[in-house]
């Protein structure tokens, strides 16, 4: 019952604009037969997701974004972003930003770490909104279906890094580059500015994290995120599909080169974003 589309429809029917409802109902969506796709995404929950996130997006974090034209309108694509802020608000805001600013609307499929699907309620609700667990097979089938994936190549070390290392990219894993080459998908680097200051952590604890099924639990300085302003920048796509053949995915040097280009792309967007912003809250 907590995951009934009827409840989602009722809530969005009461509180969501017609434009937003129409956006969710017109998304590119492969119905597996009962209104859900194979991974559990359901348009009613995409609309509910917008209802839940819009307050954060519009009023609390007052998101400013640019470069949407760099997101291909169709076909498989990987968004690769920096990760920050101790809780994954960055992913949620990118999800809504892409939904709102692509025409026709595209639902980003965030690739979450393995522990996320095992979180009660959250794991299921995220899946209804499009999230998938971080396995190679899931990513492969989504790319083959022409979906838009969101990957944080830094993984957990990116989101829980100490405040003193803010906006310093951690080591980029290479999985996203290999996937892009193998499935001929362009990679769009995404720079997220603002998240680093939202919730500085006093310390992080693996032991506490284990209690909640998390790899690590950051203990934040403030109980709730600060109302920083988020700036999202989408960079020029790296045309992996034009420069490499799928067999290059087995060449570690080619994969490392692509990952390095993505990291440089994200880093450049971060620097530009930091230079352009007038203040943490402005």
């Amino acid at each position: 019952m907590p995951f009934s589309p009827a409840i989602a429809d009722m809530l969005t029917g009461l509180f969501l604009s017609d434009e937003a409802k129409s956006r969710a109902s017109n998304i590119h969506f492969r119905d597996a037969g009962h209104g859900y796709d194979t991974f559990g995404m359901h348009p009613s929950f995409v609309a509910l997701g917008e209802l839940v996130v819009r307050g954060l997006y519009d009023r609390y974090f007052r998101v400013q974004s640019q470069g949407h034209h760099n997101i291909p309108g169709t076909g498989s694509v990987i968004l690769a972003a920096n990760h920050s802020g101790n809780i994954p608000i960055d992913g949620v805001l990118i999800w809504l930003d892409v939904l709102r600013n692509t025409d026709p609307s595209r639902v980003v499929r965030p690739i979450a770490d393995h522990f996320v699907p095992s979180l009660p309620y959250l794991g299921t609700l995220f899946a209804r909104g499009g999230m998938v667990g971080g396995s190679r097979g899931n990513a492969r089938s989504l790319l083959e279906a022409g979906e838009i994936l969101m990957i944080f190549p830094e993984g957990v070390p990116g989101i829980v890094k100490p405040f003193r290392k803010r906006y310093q990219l951690q080591e980029f894993r290479h999985g996203h580059a290999e996937l892009a080459i193998r499935h001929s998908a362009p990679i769009v680097p995404v720079g997220v500015v603002g998240g680093e200051e939202q919730m500085p952590a006093l310390f992080t604890s693996k032991r506490l994290g284990a209690l909640f099924g998390l790899p690590v639990l950051p203990v934040p300085l403030f109980p709730v995120p600060l109302p920083v302003r988020y700036h999202l920048r989408y960079g020029t796509p790296i045309p992996v599909h034009e420069e490499y053949s799928p067999s290059d995915a087995d060449d570690p040097a080619a994969v490392a080169e692509v990952a390095s280009r993505v990291k440089a792309g994200v880093d450049a967007l971060l620097k530009a974003g930091l230079q352009a912003r007038k203040g943490v809250f402005a």
Binding site: M1, F3, N138
Partner: protein, 323 residues
């Protein structure tokens, strides 16, 4: 493709019985030898020039030998379809193992020496696959198997039977096809999910609602029939036409789903098993109630031409489709 002569085991169960009916309607099939563990006169179809029925204990090597080298040889059987598998998850022990696993090994060994049998089709199950949080939702044929040491015999037997067939591929003169089928939501098929849905109230682990795939008997029989007619060998996932969350399965089956603390479900369902004699074991299916796992049928589609086309006839209509 014409002139198929087929031996079908497990004809006392619904899938075997429906397969025989389907083969009787297939003009390519010249002759069917239906093997059942029950008395022949309880078989619902009368023997004819195209259909003969034989009662054989598949655990008995001698009886199987006689079946193959007397009756099957006389009828020039070319294809063996093995659908027999002990259904109950509560029955365990060497006899069950002999029926589930040793019979497959022995049957295949005999088929390899047989003068007319050239093809062996094994009905396996999606239950052989591991379902866990770091594995793909979409299950391809190379997905890890559930090799956990603590897996119950019901699962281990299915894996062993499956692998017994797989290891002979390429080494055997037989063309071997293993069909790993989604759960058939029908009585008498050994479906744990069907047994779970026998209760008016179905308990689910709170906070989880994974995607599952279920199939109808018609699709299961269609896949077996496609495999009989095809010459390719290999392992194929056979999904059904219905992919949906567990909560919707419960709803469409006309049951009431109640979320409950995951830790109490195993003892509660154990109690239910003891009190009512039901077969469903929550512990055995726990991960399928938490993590999604859906068979990827693209290989079966491309190679065998199998496409699921018979959705389950749900007792309750789709509420979202009304109006």
């Amino acid at each position: 493709m014409s002139g198929l002569r087929v031996l079908v085991t497990g004809c006392c169960a619904p899938i075997g019985e429906h397969l025989v009916r389907r083969l009787l309607d297939d003009s390519r099939v010249e002759c069917i030898l239906a093997v059942t563990g029950n008395p022949v006169d309880t078989f619902p179809m009368s023997p004819s020039t195209r259909l003969s029925v034989s009662r054989v204990n598949l655990s008995s090597n001698r009886a199987v030998h006689r079946l193959l080298f007397e009756q099957a040889k006389a009828q020039k059987i070319g294809v063996v379809v093995h659908t027999a598998m002990h259904h109950s998850a509560t029955d365990e022990g060497p006899k069950v193992h002999a029926y589930n696993v040793d019979s497959v090994r022995h049957l295949m060994a005999l088929c390899e020496r047989h003068p007319t049998i050239k093809r062996f089709v094994l009905r396996s199950a999606a239950a052989v696959y591991q379902v866990q949080r770091d594995l793909p939702v979409l299950i391809a044929e190379d997905h890890p198997l559930n090799m956990a040491g603590h897996a119950p015999q019901w699962v281990r037997d299915r894996i062993q039977a499956d692998l017994s067939a797989c290891v002979r591929m390429g080494m055997s003169p037989l063309h071997i096809t293993v069909l790993r089928m989604a759960e058939v939501l029908a009585p008498g098929t050994g479906s744990q999910l069907f047994d779970y849905l026998e209760s008016r109230v179905c308990l689910q682990p709170a906070g989880f609602d994974p995607m599952i795939n279920v199939m109808s008997i018609q699709d299961a029989v269609g896949a077996l029939s496609d495999a009989i007619g095809a010459m390719e060998q290999g392992v194929f996932n056979i999904p059904g036409a219905d992919t949906l969350p567990v909560s919707l399965v419960i709803e469409r089956w006309g049951r009431i789903g109640i979320p409950a603390l995951g830790a109490i479900l195993s003892p509660l369902y154990r109690l239910r098993r003891r009190l009512t004699g039901h077969d469903f074991r929550y512990g055995m299916n726990r991960r399928s109630f938490i993590y999604s796992g859906v068979l990827d049928g693209s290989r079966a589609r491309d190679v065998l031409g199998y496409v699921p086309s018979h959705p389950i006839e749900w007792p309750v209509a789709d509420a979202s489709a009304v109006g």
